[in-house]
């Protein structure tokens, strides 16, 4: 029934071949049952391996992802489509998602990061949204590791190389170093776009006998085996997997964006799906399965870049900048004119059928014939064994004798505390002309409406907290994201997550994953902050060493036209400095703090717990203070606590400050503790009482702790530090690390 062709010879499927495709014996047996217990063709084996690997099927995580809160009054489309869709009023929606490109970036940092950015942009514009903002959350090994500099340099220029050329402003991100990423860097790319709420496009095919059209770059052998690779643990044979590197072409992507948006306007698009991992396979199956339709593809029509490509290669190719769509045949002429205008390859490569089969024809023969719904729905799903994480041991005695000023300078100039300017100045943060901030603040803000309506974006997680206590750490990631949006005055809307973990087949890793999901869910529910899209990246492990569990959370907040917004920098001398939401000692918690790690060299203790009720009350108060025009500058307290926060506000503005002596004895805890749910704000001296009264009414603490002014920062009884000294510590580390030769 299925025929061989010269390019698709009969292949005897061996056990070894099955294993190389990442399928277990049980999975393979199940697959055989689905196809009537016959021997699959090699093409079919490739297709099922792509559909059933971890990356596409979420087989280890699905059970847990289902528990996450995904609904809210503004949510138009939750997880399941290419990106989440949230209503922002005026008939418009924000469409956003974050996705990892960790493994490819480790192998070829420039192209890996570039194609990661390309992939996430495609997810957004596939839905009919024009991208307006991007972020990137990056994690690298320790600075001294021989590969780190090469990875940082390649990843950052790759993110920029793609996003800058495509024309999306990069408005924020994260850059962190830790030895646990020595063998696996993390590159998580976020994009957001704006669409009309009545013009959201999805992958669900509708109608029988309609043309399936291929648009974009030609298909090459890029990434063949890539989806399989992304789901396999690294070992030293990684070198062998190299020829699969994909190269990004941002110019083609830009043309694809414009062509898709123009095409959508003509009414020609019935369904559309970008080709990501296992491009043609996943996109075609998704369109058919969602629409309860079969799909027939004729691979002889696929535009190819290389001669003699087999069906297997075409079905698994991960060539970038490609789209698959179902078009209304009545609009064929308009569609063709758009494709030609933008200089893109296109071809009618198949049609929808009523058979519910996924049929692939090549060289005149049928080379695959699979039940389309089962490829997705019957994908394996595992309840992997897991053990609950052991609670962290309490933090032992800590040396509290260190000088506060020295501690602050050390943190400001440490690899993880230093300014990220070296990174974000390589990104076009201004293109489109609507950026209301540049990176460096708590959240990036982009205007999206002529009336001044704007969106705020931030990406957060503190992996060392998650490592110590996955449940609390995951809660903290959501809370910090919510806090960063609040700090600029935005109303938090929704989030996307990128769950980067190690090998899920290890019960402790899986236990951490489960606890983290529970923590995420709890925080999202408490803060009315639904998860509308996300991505899971497992097996981030090399030679048995896994990454720190890293559930990166990217959030979007709304600033309506009448919303006030503030920055983190002081705006004037002589304003009062108020600490909101803190315990009476200002700060108490040194467990897992950066002070403990980077000054005292200890990574110990429990992370600071997050009281979500307190978090919400505090954030709502801060937003009200901003909205009422009372808060003139706001910054949340995170890594490095109060000392680092006030220093960052001073550095950003060029205005100094004097902070009083903390109320209790332990100045180290007060200044460097990382207690959660705290903000620092300034107000005119005449407004101080109003702040205190509003806080009292809200049941949230507020302390007047100092005053702005001068050109130095004085913390309690510690020596005053000049702004120049702080700035040079803060700005110096990254350039000196990346360009040691420029020093001499």
């Amino acid at each position: 029934m299925l025929n061989e062709t010269p390019l698709n010879p009969a292949v005897n499927i061996t056990d070894e071949m099955i294993a190389m495709h990442g399928l277990t014996t049980d999975e393979y047996a199940h697959f055989q049952r689905l196809i009537g217990n016959r021997r699959p063709t090699f093409t079919e084996l490739g297709i099922v391996s792509a559909m059933w690997n971890e990356h596409c099927s979420y087989k280890s995580s699905k059970k847990w992802l289902k528990t996450l809160p995904t609904e809210g009054p503004h949510v138009i489309e939750g997880p399941g489509e290419n990106a989440g869709v949230v209503d922002i009023g005026d008939g418009e929606a924000v469409v956003f998602k974050m996705e990892s490109h960790n493994h490819p970036s480790y192998i070829e940092p420039y192209q890996g990061a570039a194609t990661g950015v390309g992939g996430i942009l495609r997810d957004v514009f596939t839905m009919g949204a024009r991208p307006v903002a991007a972020m990137n959350a990056l994690r690298f090994g320790e600075p001294d590791h021989p590969k780190t500099r090469h990875l940082v340099s390649g990843v950052v220029s790759g993110v920029g190389g793609y996003g800058n050329s495509f024309g999306v402003p990069t408005v924020g991100g994260e850059t962190e170093f830790h030895a646990r990423y020595n063998g696996n860097c993390l590159v998580n790319a976020f994009a957001a776009g704006i669409a009309k709420t009545d013009a959201i496009f999805t992958s669900e095919a509708k109608g029988v006998g309609l043309p399936v059209v291929y648009l974009g770059a030609k298909t090459g052998r890029d990434g063949v085996g890539g989806a399989t690779m992304a789901s396999a643990e690294f070992d030293d044979s990684i070198e062998d997997k190299r020829p699969t590197v994909q190269v990004g072409d941002p110019f083609t992507e830009k043309c694809l964006l414009e062509a898709c948006l123009e095409l959508m306007q003509t009414g020609a698009v019935i369904a559309i799906q970008d080709m990501g991992a296992a491009g043609l396979t996943c996109s075609a199956v998704e369109m058919g399965a969602k629409g309860d339709l079969g799909i027939r593809l004729d691979l002889d029509k696929v535009p190819t870049r290389e001669p003699r490509m087999s069906a297997y290669e075409m079905m698994l190719s991960e060539s970038q900048e490609r789209m698959l769509m179902v078009l209304d045949p009545a609009k064929a002429a308009e569609a063709k004119a758009v494709f030609i205008k933008w200089g893109l390859d296109f071809a009618e490569v198949g049609e929808t059928t009523d058979t519910l089969r996924f049929e692939i024809w090549h060289q005149g023969a049928k080379v695959a014939d699979l039940p389309i719904k089962e490829l997705g729905d019957e994908a394996p799903e595992y309840d992997r064994p897991w053990v609950a994480p052991t609670p962290p041991a309490p933090l032992g005695p800590v040396d509290l004798s260190g000088d506060i000023a020295d501690g602050l300078l050390a943190l400001l100039g440490s690899p993880n505390g230093a300014s990220r300017r070296w990174v974000y100045e390589q990104y076009d943060t201004l293109v489109r002309g609507q950026s209301l901030t540049t990176p460096g603040g708590d959240a990036g803000i982009v205007q999206v409406g002529a009336d001044g309506k704007a969106l705020a974006f931030t990406s957060d997680v503190t992996p060392r907290y998650v490592e110590a206590d996955p449940f609390e750490g995951a809660k903290q990631a959501v809370a910090e994201c919510w806090r960063n949006l609040t700090a600029v005055g935005a109303t938090p809307l929704a989030i996307t997550d990128n769950l980067n973990f190690g090998n899920p087949e290890r019960p402790d890793v899986m236990g951490g994953f489960v606890a983290a999901i529970n923590g995420l869910g709890e925080a999202c529910r408490a803060l009315d902050f639904p998860i509308v899209s996300g991505n899971v990246s497992l097996y981030n492990e090399t030679n048995g060493v896994g990454i720190l569990p890293t559930p990166a959370i990217a959030g979007v907040g709304l600033l309506n036209a009448d919303h006030k917004r503030v920055g983190a920098g002081f705006v004037a001398e002589g304003e009062t400095l108020l600490l909101i939401g803190a315990p009476s000692a200002w700060g108490t918690h040194l467990g897992q703090s950066t002070y403990l790690r980077d000054v005292l060299g200890r990574e110990e203790g429990p992370p600071p717990p997050v009281d979500l009720t307190h978090e919400k009350a505090t954030g709502d108060l801060v937003r009200a203070l901003i909205q009422d025009g009372i808060a003139t500058a706001v910054h949340d307290l995170s890594d490095g606590g109060l000392a680092v926060a006030v220093a960052e506000m001073a550095i950003a503005s060029g205005i100094g400050a004097a902070v009083e002596v903390p109320p209790e004895e332990e100045a180290t805890e007060a200044f460097f503790g990382e207690d959660q749910g705290r903000y620092l704000m300034t107000a005119k001296a005449t407004e101080t009482d109003k702040v205190l009264a509003m806080a009292k009414a809200a049941g949230v603490s507020a302390f007047l702790i100092g005053v702005t002014g001068g050109d130095e920062l004085k913390l309690g009884i510690s020596r005053a530090i000049s702004l120049i000294e702080m700035r040079s510590a803060h700005e110096g580390w990254f350039p000196a690390f990346m360009e040691p030769q420029a020093e001499t």
């Binding site: 052998r221 890029d222 590197v245 190269v247 110019f251 083609t252 870049r305 970038q320």
Partner: protein, 88 residues
């Protein structure tokens, strides 16, 4: 030690997408060069170096390509020639 000059050629491995060549190809077509079928773009590096001998120069150049000048994940390199410079 003698002076050498050398030419290195760095090209994309077969099968790796070449957006630069692709853009040049379509520009050439629109300029009327209809006979062009493909363009693949690479780098050429003209290097001057001091080395003990020609074979030492060769091995230095290879090492330079491996370590920096070529991205061996996606590129191949070749040392096209090495010539000893005769002082003028």
């Amino acid at each position: 030690m003698p002076d050498f000059s050398a030419r290195l050629i760095v090209t994309l491995k077969n099968g790796v997408l070449d957006p630069q060549g692709k853009a040049s190809l379509s520009a050439l077509h629109s300029l009327g060069f209809a006979g062009v079928e493909s363009v693949r773009q690479g780098k050429v590096m003209d290097v001057e170096l001091i080395a003990g001998s020609e074979s030492e120069a060769q091995s230095e150049l290879s090492a330079m390509c491996e370590k920096l000048l070529a991205n061996t994940v996606i590129e191949d390199f070749e040392i096209e020639w090495v010539r000893e410079q005769v002082p003028a």
